[in-house]
Point group: C2
Chain length 296, copies 2
């Protein structure tokens, strides 16, 4: 089976699990439930879900548990996209080839659906079905809360908006920090979630943390490359945004060729962090290669 | 010491703990940290924090633990206010006598500060300093997530907005359901948090749940009364909103006198639920009386 097949199958399993865990629209509050489903279901690579499932597979974690945690990470990711797409943030009307939540419904529904998706992520992780040991569930919640808060994803988005408002492009180091927070923190939390579910050793978790950190950087460089050189029809979202906004990115500072070269170097580094694991970590190794080869 | 003195002292302790737990503004993401502090610190009755601390006191929970959980509940409450005040929601510019976050900064900062406050609430609850037993921490997270999500607080706000958009006033039963979700769920979570920290029996938790449910209704009726008959200078927020918006409330449906009578009946019911507890539950009993006597 090719890697894309494995990725697709995993995405389908996570999708089915999400379908069951998301609230069904009912009553006057049903519109928010419908918006939550729109934001999470129906597409996307589910990279974060894949990382949870693949790191959990190293430890033979029961599929149901891994998939529940994968859905939690995807809900958290989806909430961040719904809020980032708002008019007061990045003001995007297209996502995964579909209208964004505030376009399909309205801004209030987008704010509320995002808020409820964040709550749902913690509800899923804290539920006994995710793991019988409360300490593991609490650790999952703590990790996700740190990755998503002011010192994580929200902090990264805040830096991004501040830079745009100030109109002074960021340096390479500043972009590195921004991206480590904005996308890196959640990618790391996804990989750690699988390890926590599997009762991984401190050394294993350190290795996986290192892998995820480097993977996150490679992933972001590829995003910057696709924003400049990608096909909007394949991406399912607006491209050329950063250049239009005069934003500094890895590509604007390094050029396309050097950015691609650095992404390849990072892939080699990421896979090297997995040397302590056997063939069971192959999906994670392939995920790193995929991160810099993908077209969307 | 009078009840207002006890309430004030508890609020001060929760305030100091919040001061220490909220991130300090630093770096380009510091504006979000400043907005989070603005939203949480400097005032408010801290009713939710008081309920956590007072229910925990029944079980002699260590003050630090109870205060951490109290701060988590206050962060969750503050996030809901920041988002509810947004132009696309209730569009309020004044809160606790201060400009709301989107007025003092901007809408993007208000969305992000609210998002980060929700994350922080779970980060605090999931941290080992809140309780040594991971199962208790996970239970606290699960409870809060349920109270805040689409089947809780967010669901209530969604019903509220849907009713306003539809322009058809709600019935008494519908308002009861709306308020049970919008404010009741979090008040119940606050009371439960203290009980969970204290290892309360199922019977105790049931009694406290019943108390909190009735208290939430009494609290909301008083809010509706204050919206009509309160002093804006004491309230520190815009009043007469519901009448201006043509919204059905307990007061518009029952009249001021009958609403006040029902609130008093609910106080009697709430305190009756506490009969199994001795004098140690007196602050909870007084909180119920305060809920319907307060001017702000």
């Amino acid at each position: 089976m090719s890697f894309v097949d494995i990725l697709t199958r995993t995405a389908e399993r996570v999708e089915r699990r999400a379908e069951a865990l998301l609230p069904l629209p009912a009553g006057p509050e049903g519109q928010v439930a419908a918006a939550m489903r729109h934001a999470v279901l129906g597409g996307g690579k589910r990279l974060r879900g894949f990382l949870v499932v693949s790191s959990a597979a190293i430890y033979d974690v029961a599929p149901e548990r891994a998939e529940r945690a994968a859905v939690a990470l995807e809900c958290l990711h989806a909430y961040s996209l719904v809020h980032d797409d708002l008019p007061c943030m990045d003001d995007d009307s297209l996502r995964r080839g579909q209208p964004t939540v505030h376009v399909k419904w309205d801004e209030a529904t987008a704010v509320l659906a995002g808020d409820a998706l964040q709550s749902l992520a913690f509800e899923i992780l804290a539920h006994p079905d995710t793991h019988p040991d409360g300490a593991v569930r609490a650790a999952l919640c703590l990790d996700l809360a740190r990755a998503s808060g002011q010192r994580g994803m929200v902090g990264g988005q805040a830096i991004d908006i501040a830079a745009e408002t100030a109109g002074s492009p960021l340096s390479l180091a500043e972009i590195g920090r921004l991206q480590a927070l904005k996308t890196g923190a959640l990618i790391r939390a996804a990989t750690r979630a699988g390890a926590l579910l599997g009762g991984a050793s401190v050394e294993d978790i350190e290795a996986l943390d290192g892998y995820a950190e480097v993977l996150g950087r490679a992933f972001q460089i590829r995003d910057d490359i696709l924003d400049v050189a990608g096909d909007p029809a394949l991406a399912g979202k607006r491209l050329r945004k950063d250049a239009a906004a005069g934003k500094a990115t890895f590509v604007s500072l390094l050029g396309l060729d050097e950015a691609a070269r650095q992404a390849d170097l990072l892939v080699a580094q990421a896979t090297a962090r997995l040397d302590r694991f056997g063939a069971v970590a192959d999906p994670l190794r392939e995920a790193a290669r995929f991160a810099v080869a993908r077209q969307s």
